[in-house]
């Protein structure tokens, strides 16, 4: 067991080192996130000023706080789909199959390393930046943080499952970029990363809440901002586990069947 943890800690550490190896990519990523926050806070402030009555429970400050916190959560998750996609496409996954470790757990460890990097190198600087420059004042206390952490952790695993699912499609399709883009679009629209889902029409919210997407960013942000939800915290956690179970099972099913059918053509 110790050996298992030691090996996977090394995977995490190597992924962190890999992420830090490319300085230009780091600075452009950070600049992107700054720009993203700047655009959204500006848009929401303008919307709140122009049509104060049309946003329901949302005030301008609440929307700015929401935009910043959901962006911080989003930035802290490291996207890592192309680690596996590239290995499958090039055939280099053959070496992973020959090694005495589980490829899905390696993927999780590697993604964890990328996410640790994202958290410390991007999310935390962004949080400090937001406090100083945008003057965000989220009313966060220890109780909310304790409620937030399990939701954040499961939503991270859900995010990884999505990534693993998209990666595993590379066993079946030569090009999976369209799936990657489709998933990114659905995340952008339905996860609450850009628009809080309560702003959608009531009937649409009902449909969205059955999909795994709002569990990625909307609910963790809603917990931190103490926003009203139509179910209790305990029910939310049960819903989280059900979504995680469904998405990860589907991802593993696609992966297991894909790795069996892989043919490793060529010399």
């Amino acid at each position: 067991m110790t050996h298992f943890f030691e090996t996977h800690l090394k995977f995490i550490s190597k992924a962190f080192q890999r992420s830090i190896a490319y300085k230009l990519e780091y600075y452009t990523g950070l600049a992107n996130a700054f720009l993203y926050i700047f655009i959204f806070t500006s848009v929401w402030r303008t919307v709140a000023l122009e049509s104060p009555g049309s946003l329901g429970i949302w005030t301008g400050d609440a929307l700015v706080n929401y935009a910043i916190l959901s962006t911080l959560i989003k930035v802290s998750y490291g996207r890592n789909e192309y680690l596996l996609i590239n290995k499958i496409k090039s055939g280099d996954i053959a070496y992973d199959i020959l090694k005495p470790y589980s490829i899905p757990i390696m993927y999780i460890s590697d993604s964890l390393g990328v996410s640790v990097f994202q958290l410390f190198a991007r999310a935390i600087p962004l949080l400090l930046f937001s406090i100083f420059f945008f003057g965000i004042t989220p009313d966060v206390n220890m109780y909310k943080i304790l409620q937030f952490l399990p939701a954040y952790l499961i939503s991270f695993l859900l995010f990884l499952s999505f990534g693993f699912l998209i990666s595993s499609l590379a066993f079946y399709f030569t090009e999976v970029f369209s799936f990657y883009i489709l998933n990114s679009a659905l995340i952008t629209l339905l996860s609450g990363a850009v628009i809080p889902i309560t702003m959608f029409p009531e009937s649409f919210i009902g449909i969205i809440s059955w999909t795994p997407y709002p569990y990625l960013y909307y609910y963790p942000t809603a917990i931190l901002l103490d926003m009203p939800m139509s179910f209790s915290y305990n029910e939310l956690l049960i819903r989280y586990f059900i979504q995680l179970f469904c998405v990860s099972s589907l991802a593993f099913m696609i992966y297991n069947s894909g790795i069996k059918k892989m043919e490793f053509a060529g010399g």
Binding site: T7, K14, G91, I97, P100, G266
Partner: protein, 328 residues
Amino acid sequence: MIEVKNLCKYFIIKKRKSGFIGSLKSLFYSEEDTIKAVDDISFQIQPGELVGYIGQNGAGKSTTIKMLTGILKPSSGQILVNGIDPSLERSKNAFQIGVVFGQRSQLWMDLPVEESLDLLRSIYKIDKKIYDKKIEFFSDLLGIHEFMKQQARKLSLGQRMKADLAASLLHSPKVLFLDEPTIGLDLLVKEKVRSFIRSINENDKVTIILTTHDIQDIEFLARRIIIIDRGKIGYDGGIANFNKLVGNESLVSVHFQEPIKNLVLPKPYIITQKLSEFQYVLRIPDEEPLSQLIEIFQKNNYLIQEINREKPELGEAIKKMYEGRNDI
């Protein structure tokens, strides 16, 4: 050490129709075809043997290696590597085999070589002292210390191959599969890699299966060759015996004093190569004296500057086997 019995691997491929209409039809229906990549082969390899496993492109070499390592599951037949079925016990098998695919790398490309090797140390549960000794050994024989701190992505092809060889042998495997380990390397690096392979085979008694298109690799390293052709074994035995089986003919290279546009010779002489209008290579039966050939040249007023007779090399013999198909 390795037992292969009636091994078969079939691939089903979809045939796409050509043209615009054909492409549209393929969206709804495509015909399937079965390709026999490996077709009922059997062989045994003893501990410490170094066997050259050769064949043309698409002959089934790499497919066999992939089945022996456990990456591919056979369609039928049986494989045992040191008593383990590789496709059923892949993890257990992983500790006793090392693999180098010449056209791929097991290094983490964004990290320095030493980081990749350190990660492999953890994966294979290698004791730190043994690991340090291994690194020293690889540094002495392959000179990996010169690029240990370099990012794998920035290594030359030769350096990358040396690092891959070290990575595949770090956990002291009993069997090493080398799939075209010298592909694309320059002569000096090839020689170093070959000497290293010979050294680990002779000193550490590592069983090695080597697939390559470079006949010099085979001649330098292997005492036994298995030739696979269209999925079937064409020959399995010693190199010397193979030469005898194929080689009841010799090669004669002739350098003329004056150019000859079209050299025409009676039977049984066969012109195998025209290097220039001055230089030709011929194939003649062993029992045919060279004097007879010289006489023919003299009759035709072809002035000879130099003439040499030699037994064909292994490469020529293999080429002849492919051309003759199943003659042996």
